[in-house]
Symmetry: D2
């Protein structure tokens, strides 16, 4: 029945004026990085429910990540976090990853769990602690060189809980000074991704609360600095796709942390609560990929897509796979927008027709297309179930409970 | 190609274990009421852009509503608003509606535009004004008798803008007293729908700010009083489908005002900003329709589905049609959930499988199904375009600008 | 200078028509319960920073709580949490408390950290787990009898993370069944406090998300069941004082969990981010204390005031004291509203005058009044500094790090 | 009693280490501009309740504004809006203002009510309409020259209601092009204030939704372009004082539109719903006024303070006066922070002490200080009541209903 479905799909999309070759090419090219920490135990402040079989060290995390790539063909790199993933020999870690068909992706310094960072890292009132944080970031750059990574990915938990606790403008200066020092250490082909977050774990102010602060910082630092958009880090109702589009126009969109939320930074399976939002984000990216301006196209082509989610209830590996297939689904739908007709309607200020053009694409069932892509890649058409039916879920049970955690 | 698409659709759904006959029957039964005011000019506090061709009186509003029904076969009734739709002879209005193939639906007293209501209607400090408001509601009951309506639909703008402005508990008593008096006037087969709203036009407190206040009021009044859920009237991130499900379990879900919003009560075309939300609402209703408890089923079967939206930029009639087809689309998808498999997964606490069951249904393209339904009904398969290609849009232009407005 | 300040204060308030004797009496009567868990280590999902000197067992928690009472004279009872505060001999715990000048207050079953509760406690799909939760609540009632507590305080983390994960209406029935069973076990003079929360740790739906669900549940259970309002558990912008007033009118306001938040359930020092909000809440309570209806007065007089906060950065004991003095400050200001003038302005719909009456009271510096009250009580006029200057902060350091935590 | 109160106040503040001369000087210097439109009728989309006595033309608006200045001595300038305040002879308008003791302040082009602007002004798809908008802004610059104004104040309602309706990046380019053209026309001593708004009247996207977009635009345009912060234009829970502080550090804080809101852009009397927020904003400004960096001080000294509020229920003039006295109150409190002690506590990471330093200042009753300031200025100590007891409120009644409206 799938063949029949695909033939019908092909006919329908051709009739809609869609170039399916281009669509398929772009879908085949889509790579999504998974985060090493996401394979370990995590949860809420109320409880981290430990699962049987979570990896106990960075090597086991890579092994699990390799499963995600095995079943999707779309997750060939893994982000690591320092100190969580500190090892003695990074070339061994790199080789281990390569043997699994993986590469090491973004390197993330974890600047919020040492007692030293209780009152801030790069915005700490003590220069000694700011220097420690700078040092930890430079360590990450060295690790990048060893593991062949190109992205230094920075998220700061820095902020305050109470009015008066911190001096906003001093902290701003300290952050700029610290990052300037780190930026200088980057290699030519390195990139610095700067993430922002509206709130949590700081509950009065956060030093980089929004895209504007991250963007302005990146402008001061230089062209290797770009903004990282975590889809769960905005005030409710924020039009994220507008921010994405804006950053593309400014050539400063570095990448994404994908996850889903309904309330705060809930870090759930991607697109589980409002799939249309991710479709609209991808629509902006697809528009940029077809732009006339070379810089915009180039920015759109070099976006780092990453998952960043925290599975408290569901098993880690299939949840990660589900997130990846959800991203594929919504990217596929965005690729089915007839942009000519859309632009025509926009030009005519025909609100109903323009909106319809997007919705029509969103409503298409892209299952046949994704099956076709997967067959072409040589991976299972239904990655989650293929994984669940494999022996791996049983094998890792012997790791027991109490694996890596945050 | 549509035939082929429908055959494939049928095969796929049968394979998924869906009883398409039941699905089609339910879809054919779906009726959505449109609001008379929605055909007139409306907008924001900054500007009401007048459109050419909006109706100038209640009769023309009905004529426009008849177009929506003509092209959808799903909008056979029209809500009216008093005093906006006051006429000398309601039986004439009723007959006019009937001749157009319509009936008059809910009757809404408009209790917020008289100068008397500046500081509140049923919660006004002056008993004279509270009595006026009660009188206006009783007038609506009389109109209901004349036009054959069964629903008195109540929304109160009452509230305050500043701390201290009003006495909360006195206002609560006054509202209960006033509504008790109105309730007594209802006929046996009448229903009183009580709407709530988080904020606007009052900006400090609203007398019925949430479902809890509307529900508690309905419990005090009696079984004819039920809660009306406007999808735009909640704090951001509120789980509306939970409220819907809760009210169904309590047999107090009276009906809906459908519209879409991203920020506040934006009153846009239904499901334009987060279609998944309406799907999830309908999923709860479908669950209730198949419940074992008679009262729950009965409540689910008697829900009053109504549009309540305000088109500032787009033409009124096709926007109304689009809202109706959007409702149909999302109801259709909700009907395609395999509830057995869902319940099984819920029972097994298999989070991934349960969530997948819903998403799978949402991802189905129901276009073939809706085309089939429409053919069965004898209406155009693409209602918006059929309307736009008719002569009606041109004909009404002669009404000029400056028609009915709020 | 304080004497002079108090004399001036007295003259000013008398001139404003305030009965200072009544104000002082009410302030002297104000008792605020502190939570045992609040003395231990706690924090965010990202990190719990351990402090030196946090208590290692329930007895040490009581000792710390006794310090708060010693310096404020306003915190004579302590809420306990089961299983965190499980001891072999509750009468010994009770006696220990009494010897410290304390009593045991509300008993809270902690129904969210056992692995069994991963998918819910009283709404769990397995009756065995629901029964376990019921058993744990009944254990708490037995503890109440042993320690002389009158309040069973219930908060449920129950909810789901994904659409489809749970069956809303079944869960509602299960919760009602479970609570009915618990309710039956209450003694005549027991009270059941039912707390609600908008979200967290569940991120799709929560079984008791708002006051309406808690209130309706309390109505089904009976008069001993009342609603507990945690000031951090609402959607942003919710008018909490309206809910408070509404529950007082319905005689179902059981008590408060006080804390402050700017974003989500941040659990910070009370009133640290918007002190006016707590003032407005107390204004509604003061109105109820002076009501003509006996039931309203009685409800207002029996409110259980409790702190519920989580200090990640600041030392626990002085933060608790600060919260208590903040509560006193805002209650004192609320007591200085000239209600006659306020009611007069409300009656005249004089918005500016009514609002001014509240703001005038809020703007009064109540330091002289609080100093006078504390002198009358025989406690230090500046409780935080008196505590900090005592030897206790140094003494507890010897407990080291790694005390009780959540 | 006020003398006694002031003496005590003086003693207390000196004891706290506050330099009252500096405080008084700064308070005497505080000027707040009122908006001409705020004297006319305005309201919500549901109803504009007309008041008796609202001004009928720009001259009467100025006369009313003069009353606000007469009673406060702090509102010497008036913002005007084009086309609402278009007159034939601007020098006559200017002279009329001067005779009343006023000057004309910011000139605001009103770019959202012409039918042409239905789908946008500077982001309109039609270059002809973008040019019209540019022309209207240049007209405003010419008016600035005639009336002696230095501030061109820009707010754009531009945005879209539906996904797909507009092309984000094209619109961004059009806005930048348009503003560049306008910027070129500014005189040396002119300033362009760029306002942003989260949403409304556009409900899907707004072209300048946040400070980041306004700031980036101002950076592209040049040093005369600065950001205007309207306190009601942010997502809920946004830390506005952080934005203010950030812009000061960047020397791009142009000014404020003050008003109060609890939910959306409610435009109510300043500080009526959360007075602490405005205190915290002023605290950042006071910090900047005492900074060591000349540019920061200069920016803080040249902030344009403006009211922007919309009184639907209360009379306009006294509401405006109330807003001004509220601003004075909160600025006065912010001036009473002991910054040395605050900085000391920040340096020591003493969270409790730092927070206390702010709260202590906020809790001071500054009534005696404000009375002293007013006496020094020669205006009534209680401006609202002095105005209400004057003959002016009666005199303007003869204007009748139906005056200027938006």
């Amino acid at each position: 029945m799938m063949d029949q479905a695909y033939q019908l799909f092909e006919k329908q999309q051709e009739e809609r004026g869609i170039n399916l070759n281009d669509v398929k090419k772009k879908l085949l090219d889509l790579k999504i990085e998974t985060p090493s920490w996401g394979y370990g135990d995590s949860g809420t402040r109320f409880k981290v429910f430990q699962q049987e079989g979570v990896p106990r060290d960075p090597y086991e995390k890579l092994a699990d990540a390799a499963q995600v790539h095995k079943y999707t063909g779309a997750a060939p790199s893994v982000a690591i976090h320092i100190p969580w993933d500190r090892v003695d020999d990074y070339s061994s870690l790199k080789n281990y990853a390569n043997d699994l068909g993986l590469t090491i992706g973004a390197v993330n310094p974890n600047l919020f769990q040492d007692d030293d960072y209780k009152y801030g890292s790069v915005t700490n009132v003590h220069s000694k602690i700011r220097k420690k944080a700078v040092g930890q970031m430079i360590e990450c750059i060295q690790i990048m060189r060893e593991v062949g990574s190109k992205d230094l990915s920075l998220w700061f938990a820095d902020g305050t809980n109470y009015p008066g606790q911190g001096n906003f403008r001093l902290r701003k200066k300290w952050m700029e000074e610290s990052l300037t020092e780190v930026y200088r250490q980057l290699d030519e082909d390195h990139r610095m991704l700067i993430e922002y977050k509206f709130f949590e774990p700081a509950f009065y102010h956060t030093d980089l609360p929004d895209w504007g602060t991250a963007f302005n910082l990146s402008m001061k630092l230089g062209p290797k600095a770009q903004v990282l958009v975590d889809t769960g880090h905005h005030p409710l109702a924020t039009n994220i796709e507008y921010i994405v589009s804006y950053l593309l126009e400014e050539n400063r969109l570095g990448g994404f942390h994908f996850n889903s939320r309904k309330y705060a930074d809930d870090d759930l399976i991607v697109a589980a609560h409002n799939p249309y939002e991710l479709f609209l984000i991808f629509h902006q990216i697809v528009e940029a990929l077809h732009d006339e301006t070379k810089d915009v196209v180039q920015n759109a082509q070099s976006i780092a897509y990453m998952l960043d989610q925290c599975h408290n209830l569901e098993p880690k590996i299939p949840a990660m796979i589900r997130s990846i297939t959800n991203v594929q689904t919504l990217y596929a739908k965005a690729l089915l927008v007839n942009r000519n007709r859309l632009h025509q309607a926009q030009q005519e200020q025909n609100v109903l027709a323009a909106e319809h053009e997007l919705r029509r694409a969103f409503d298409v069932d892209v299952t046949p297309l994704l099956y076709a892509i997967r067959e072409e890649k040589g991976v299972p058409v239904d990655p989650v179930n293929a994984y669940l039916n494999s022996s791996y879920p049983q094998e890792i049970v012997k790791r027991g409970k109490g694996g890596a955690s945050w």
